[in-house]
Amino acid sequence: MQSDAAVQQKLARYETFVNDTLRRDLKDALDARDVLYDQISEYLKLAKDIEVIKDNGLTEMKTQVDLGSNFYVQAKIPDTKHIFVNVGFGFHAELTLDEALAFITKKEAHLQKRAEKYTEKASQIRAHIKLVLEAMAEIMKLDTTPPPRNLNL
């Protein structure tokens, strides 16, 4: 049998691994997914706006532009046929409203896929964490040490 101290040392190492590596990875994955979800919601909002313009048949419209810090100035859009949409990587494409809608659905699907990947990754990390913790718990049980901490996520 290994000495008690050695076991304790191992346990400590596992715990730090869980806390410093796995949990951080998990957080990163979830954050990245959140960013993607934000983008998806933005696109969905844009799609909704375009739908409104189309539904109302607006050829020109008035709106208010935020100059920053909630200072609004009136703006007039003379022609609503075309819209510049951010297609990613800093590019904006001049699209018609219909094209824009089509692009947004595609873009949304793509983003969803990426988000799912992140979700998968996150659940994997979670599984790893659980595994390590249970292994630690087993060792501790064998050593008749107090029950493991942080078992439930």
């Binding site: 703006a75 007039k76 819209i83």
Partner: protein, 747 residues
């Protein structure tokens, strides 16, 4: 364990501070962000109404935009907060932005102050936050570590001897060689003496007979005689004691005979200088040459060292002794022109400065006039740095170069810093003109001066001034040669020249500078001075009063001159033409300058009456400076100046008091301290800076803020007591609060 707990505490301390700091940093970043936003917004707002419409890409959500135009550019809808909007013109909106900016700035300064406070607190453990500390010059604070060599201290005393060789370079090679030989001998003697001391400590006996014989024979390096005695001493204790008695008796006898010869008595020398130097003894001593033998000098040196070692103010002790010696000497009939006075003078010098002069003078058993002259000159050189050092802080740079005036100005400095070096020169003049014999009278003056200097001098030996000594070195040789060639008349002439120089300090300096540049011209100058000598001398003799009146620089009522005069009568004995001791560079200067038109007096000199009355010692000693030509002073200016000073000092005083009381000066700091310390009784109103919310601020609020800020600024400056000023009032309130709080506690 203690250490562990300390470490833990420190870690805790650190974590708290770092947490607070990160929080503040975030806050600060947020506010900075607001600031930049508002700045951008303001420029936009001001640019907006310049045109009726701007074509822009109108943002359509975050991801899209459409080409469009900004219309009604002078109408801005501003959100005041809580979804309340107001329609403002662009300029009005810009004003709102301004007010918000002020708020933002205030918050930023507050946060910075907080951060600063935290950092100051963390300064208790420097480097705690891993930050390099900087001093007020922006340089990183580092610990100064210098290697310590214990050898330095030990060697310092021994180094004194080499240090004394300062004027060494002025000697001819032969003289230098002789000096070196003597020095070697001295070193040898010292070794010998130390060895003897050791033996004595070890319980061995060295008879004074032996010592005397040794010193008389100058047979220092063999231990034969000692070997003879030692077995005897070791035979029995009784014998030993007997011997001690004998020797002590012998010693006392020898004390009278040859005071300075036995190295053993050197210890006593410092205490008994006066006795040792008693003129009667000196005259009755076997020969004057004996007194001047190397051993004598050695004794002197040793005594000095000892004195320096034993007492922190060694020089001072020596001084008193020397003074008593002086008085003794004055009492002596001036029988023969012995070298004794010279020696005394020499003694005086090394008391503070390097001992080399002493050595030199004593090196020559029968010094000629020339050599004496030279010696005294050398002494002068040695003295010079000292005096210079003393005077330097007060005297102007120009005055520094002129040695004699400076010497005296040291005295003047003590009374009034404004008194110039030039004003002091007349002291010498007074002495000279009043006494028919010029040469001797001038010397006492000098002596008096040097005395003075020494009395005031701090024990520390002044470092040599390289530049100055350089000048002297250059000029000395030719001047000396010139002076020594013609016997007496040249000396008097020289004196005259010197006097003239003293009266015109400013040009003297110029010439000295000239000599610096072209030393080759010095011999010529010297000769020219010779040619003029006689006439000048006569002039001076015939009409001293006129001369004094003619001088551009008014004479000062210098008390020291009286001192010099008093001693001068007694010192007439001295054959040494001490005038020659004046720095030769001065001579050169004067001679070169004689042709020049009247010279402006030194700028800082206080004009003083040049009347014969002033030579009255009583008057002079009263340290009263009479003014004849008083420079017109602008009274208004003076008054203003005084007022200004008063105000400033008051302000500083108050400021210091405030800092002393609260440990801070900023209002915020003080407030914080109050908050921490003061127990505020209920009902006590404390005006406090409102906590600002950026967005929900009314315009009126902003204005109020402005007022308050102004008041704060006033408070910080706070030069005059003003009721409107908030902080003083607050101060008193808080003090009262604290008082009441403490009172209630006591109850």
């Amino acid at each position: 364990m203690d250490r562990d707990s300390e470490t833990a505490e420190l870690a805790n301390y650190f974590s708290k501070f770092s947490a607070a700091l990160t929080r503040l940093d975030e806050e600060l970043a947020r506010w900075k962000n607001y600031e930049s936003d508002y700045e951008a917004l303001k420029t936009t707002l001001l640019d907006l109404p310049k045109e009726t419409s701007h074509s822009v890409m109108v943002p359509f959500g975050n991801l899209a935009f459409m080409p469009g135009k900004l219309v009604h550019t002078n109408e801005v809808l501003v959100m005041l907060g809580d979804n309340w909007f107001v329609d403002r013109s662009a300029v009005q909106a810009a004003e709102i932005v301004d007010r918000r900016m002020e708020l933002v700035q205030e918050n930023i300064t507050k946060i910075k102050a907080q951060e600063e406070a935290i950092r100051t607190k963390s300064g208790v453990a420097p480097g705690l936050l891993g930050r390099q500390e900087y001093n007020e010059e922006g340089l990183p604070i580092v610990e100064i570590t210098e290697p310590y060599f214990s050898d330095d201290e030990e060697g310092a005393e021994k180094k004194e001897t080499p240090a004394g060789l300062l004027p060494f370079s002025q000697k001819t090679p032969e003289e230098q060689a002789a000096d070196r030989a003597i020095l070697d001998r001295l070193a040898e003697l010292e070794r010998e003496d130390e060895e003897r001391e050791r033996r004595r400590e070890a319980g061995e006996i060295v008879t004074s007979d032996e010592e005397t014989s040794e010193s008389e024979e100058e047979d220092y390096d063999d231990g034969e005689s000692e070997d003879e005695h030692r077995p005897k001493a070791l035979d029995s204790d009784e014998e030993y004691e007997e011997e001690v008695w004998e020797h002590s008796g012998n010693e006392s006898e020898e004390d009278e005979r040859e005071e300075d010869l036995s190295p053993r008595k050197t210890v006593r020398f410092a205490d008994q200088v006066a006795k040792a130097m008693k003129p009667s003894q000196a005259s009755s001593s076997s020969s004057t040459i004996k007194t001047k033998s190397p051993s004598d000098i050695f004794d002197q040196m040793r005594s000095k060292q000892q004195a320096a070692r034993n007492t922190g103010s060694g020089p001072m002790v020596n001084m008193s002794n020397l003074e008593s010696t002086f008085s003794n000497l004055m009492g002596t009939p001036a029988a023969a022109p012995r070298k004794k006075p010279l020696i005394v003078e020499v003694d005086e010098t090394p008391a503070l400065a390097p001992e080399a002069p002493a050595l030199k003078s004593s090196l020559k058993p029968t010094p000629k006039k020339q050599s004496l002259f030279k010696q005294s000159k050398i002494q002068e050189v040695v003295e010079k740095p000292l005096i210079k050092e003393v005077v330097q802080p007060a005297a102007a740079a120009q005055e520094e170069i002129q040695q004699p005036p400076k010497k005296l100005s040291k005295f003047a400095m003590a009374r009034a810093a404004a008194a110039a070096g030039g004003s002091t020169a007349p002291a010498v003049q007074a002495a000279a003109s009043s006494a028919p014999i010029i040469a001797p009278s001038a010397k006492p003056a000098k002596l008096g001066v040097s005395d003075l200097v020494f009395e005031r001098e701090v024990p520390s030996v002044a470092p040599t001034m390289p530049g100055f000594s350089h000048v002297v070195e250059r000029n000395v040789t030719p001047a000396v040669v010139k002076e020594t060639a013609p016997p007496t008349s040249s000396i008097t002439g020289f004196k005259d020249v010197v006097e003239n120089t003293f009266t015109k300090p400013a040009p003297a300096k110029d010439v000295i500078e000239n000599t610096f540049t072209k030393p080759s011209g010095i011999p010529e100058v010297g000769s020219s001075s010779e040619g003029r000598k006689k006439s000048l001398f006569r002039q001076q003799q015939q009409q001293p009063q006129q001369q004094s009146a003619r001088r551009m620089l008014p004479e000062s009522a210098f008390p020291d001159s009286s001192y010099g005069l008093d001693e001068g009568d007694e010192y007439d004995v001295t054959p040494v033409p001490s005038i020659s001791a004046r720095p030769p560079n001065v001579v050169v200067a004067s001679s070169a300058d004689k042709g020049k038109a009247p010279i402006k007096p030194a700028m800082k000199t206080i004009p003083v009456v040049a009347s014969s009355k002033l030579r009255d010692t009583a008057l002079l000693k009263g340290s009263v400076v009479e003014r004849e030509e008083i420079e017109s002073v602008d009274e208004d200016e003076l008054e203003d100046d005084m007022l200004m000073r008063q105000v400033v000092s008051e302000y500083q005083e108050r400021r210091q008091a405030m800092i002393a009381q609260h440990g801070a000066f900023n209002r915020e700091d003080i407030e914080r301290i109050w908050e921490q310390q003061v127990v505020i009784p209920p009902g006590m109103m404390i005006p406090e800076t409102p906590i600002e919310i950026v967005h929900d601020m009314d315009e009126d609020d902003y204005e109020e803020e402005d007022d308050e800020e102004e008041e704060e600024e006033e408070a910080v400056q706070e030069t005059v007591v003003d009721d409107r000023n908030q902080p003083p009032k607050k101060l008193s309130l808080f003090r009262a609060a604290r008082l009441t709080g403490s009172l209630s506690k006591q109850e």
